[in-house]
């Protein structure tokens, strides 16, 4: 039997998915603790042993592919000119590449900011600024500053094309840089794909070699991308389809993890009602937002801060010492909820994460009182008529009440200006395979769509 093996090096678990190529079926999935402090291949081999015991028959691995968010994932600093324009476009490109955006800077950088960047643990810097033919002073100033501080991090240059030659002259041989297309070629139009691809290539080439991952390349064909980028790829291909296979249309994915909550939407997000004017920077069709303060364990205390006791009570039936429960989870990040109460509390945290993360991801409308009557202006995506909402991440996948958790993402009259989905069909990534399927799209996208349709189930 020929098989593909997909590996996801997560911050906590190394997850394996073994796929039968001929039958297009999942043979088995297995996980083991990630061992990034010593050598990640140890954790990988532990998981593989467990997997082999489970499968208990001969198989021939045709290809092994991996994605990784271990060792903190891919960390990027985004730099642009105006905060709402090129700086925001750069941030969105970095998020779409599966990165964690440590900080976004705008306008001409000063010495303090450069020291801050130099002392940060960023893996890549994304340098934007100016539309094509537009402002060039800012990006040139910032390039000069980067050169002055001799930053030893790869720089992705995605700004005004008219001054790229000048940027190259400044960087010369001393800075490792990669030039790609402008993230905002003209005003309010966003172009994130080329920057995303460039970041992914650097990730493959450079990032993997660090942090206890040196030996991985010998055992595994390739580490292709950061895990969130892989999830986004799977969502994209399931939504849009390929030349040979139909997609299912617009959708959103909510992934509640231990440290963060990711929301991916694959949708245009155009206004669903008349008399609505669009405002602000264009939204990418595949949009990812990541909430660093919303997570089940590592970010438990910041969920408490964001939600407060009143908001938590909305999702709790029994009475709890809410602050103590959050503290318990934040101090013991390996805490596993087993009692009925603990499960109820965990699910309430998940609902809060889903609720707030979707609110931040979806657009808003604002009424405008004009002499011509009431008008509305929309910022961000309108997801009101979104047909599908997919849940993934440990807490949702393992819960008996996955549908109830996902319902927290829906539109409610408590918050009438938020353009959250109103009546989507809720789906579940039951076997936790989205990231593996994102890797499969790199080999055979048609097969990935067929398998996603088979394994993403209706709730």
């Amino acid at each position: 039997m020929d098989a593909y093996l997909f590996i996801d090096f997560g911050s906590t678990f190394t997850k394996l998915t073994l796929v039968d190529i001929a039958k297009e079926e999942i043979i088995a999935t297995e996980k083991s603790y990630t061992t990034v402090e010593t050598d990640v291949t140890i954790g990988y081999k532990n998981a593989l042993d467990k997997l082999n015991k489970k499968v208990n028959r001969e198989y021939n691995i045709v290809k092994k592919l991996a994605c990784s968010s271990a060792a903190g994932g891919l960390k990027i600093i985004a730099i642009g000119l105006v905060p709402e324009l090129t700086a925001e476009a750069a941030k969105r490109a970095a998020l779409g590449a599966g990165a964690k955006v440590i900080k976004t800077y705008s306008f001409n950088l000063n010495n303090d900011e450069l020291s801050e960047i130099k002392n940060s643990n960023a893996d890549i810097i994304l340098l934007a600024g100016g539309t094509n033919g537009g402002n060039s002073d800012c990006i040139l100033h910032n390039a000069q500053m980067i050169f002055n501080y001799k930053l030893a991090i790869p720089i992705v240059v995605a700004g005004n094309k008219s001054c790229i030659d000048e940027v190259k002259r400044i960087f010369a041989e001393d800075i490792e840089y990669y030039v790609t297309e402008n993230v905002m070629p003209d005003l309010n139009h966003i172009n994130v794909e080329p920057a995303r691809e460039t970041i992914r290539n650097i990730f493959m080439k450079n990032i993997i070699h660090a942090k206890g991952m040196e030996n991985v390349q010998d055992t595994i064909s390739e580490i292709l991308m950061p895990t969130p980028a892989s999830v986004l790829k799977a969502a994209e291909v399931l939504s849009v389809g390929t030349k040979d296979e139909d997609g299912i249309g617009d959708l959103a994915v909510i992934d509640v993890g231990g440290a963060t909550t990711d929301v991916h939407s694959i949708a245009e997000g155009a206004p669903s009602k008349p008399s609505v004017m669009l405002r602000g920077l264009e939204e990418p069709h595949s949009k990812r937002t990541v909430e660093g303060d919303l997570g089940m364990r590592y970010s438990a205390m910041s969920v408490f801060e964001a939600a407060g006791t009143k908001f938590m009570k909305k999702y709790l039936q029994s009475s709890f010492d809410i602050e103590k429960e959050f503290e318990k989870r934040s101090e013991h990040t390996d805490f596993v909820a087993e009692s009925q109460e603990d499960i109820e509390f965990d699910e309430a945290i998940a609902k809060v994460c889903v609720d707030i993360s979707m609110k931040r991801h979806a657009g808003v409308v604002e009424p405008i009182y004009s002499p011509m009557g009431m008008m509305y202006s929309q910022t961000g995506k309108d997801l009101m008529e979104l047909p599908y909402l997919i849940g993934t991440g440990g807490i949702i996948v393992n819960s008996k009440n996955a549908d109830k958790i996902l319902e927290a993402a829906l539109f409610s009259m408590d918050d009438p200006t938020s353009l959250k989905p109103r009546h989507p069909k809720t789906l579940l990534d039951e076997r936790y395979i989205l990231s593996a399927m994102g890797l499969l799209t790199m080999i055979n996208p048609n097969m990935a769509i067929r398998m996603l349709k088979k394994y993403i189930v209706k709730l």
Partner: protein, 135 residues
């Protein structure tokens, strides 16, 4: 012309889109690189657009009578944002009711607008002035 980039838009809670499109076509046709931010645009959007695109002039339209309120402080904000010396144009039905044009003209001039056009000004006038100003 040294700088052909101009920012065009309709300011405030004003959604008159037709004239905005006509200006966009005519100015593009005349050889300008028109960055049209469209209707319902606050001052900040004009200014941010001018910064990113390195525009030489900002053309503000207002058709609904509240232009005077919407335009207040625009020159000061431009100065604050590092756009000293950018050419500011305004035109349309920029004040409430029928007022003496000379008074209106002076008020907008005092607010820092370089060119102030009364209702019924043809686009050729603006094109002629732009060519002169941006040289």
């Amino acid at each position: 012309m040294d700088n052909k980039t101009i920012v065009l838009g309709v300011i405030g809670s004003d959604c008159h889109a037709v004239g905005n499109k006509i200006l966009d076509y005519s100015l593009t046709d005349a050889g300008f690189n028109v960055v049209n931010i469209g209707v319902l645009s606050p001052q900040e959007d004009f200014i941010n657009a001018a910064i990113e695109t390195n525009a030489g002039a900002i053309l503000v339209s207002s058709l609904y009578g509240q232009g005077e309120i919407d335009c207040r402080g625009m020159r000061e904000k431009c100065d604050e944002a590092g756009l000293e010396g950018i050419r500011l144009y305004v035109g349309g039905n920029i004040v409430v009711g029928k007022q003496n044009w000379n008074d209106v003209y002076k008020r907008f001039k005092d607010m820092g607008f370089d060119r102030v056009y009364p209702p019924g000004t043809s686009v050729e006038t603006a094109i002629h002035d732009l060519k002169e100003d941006l040289n």
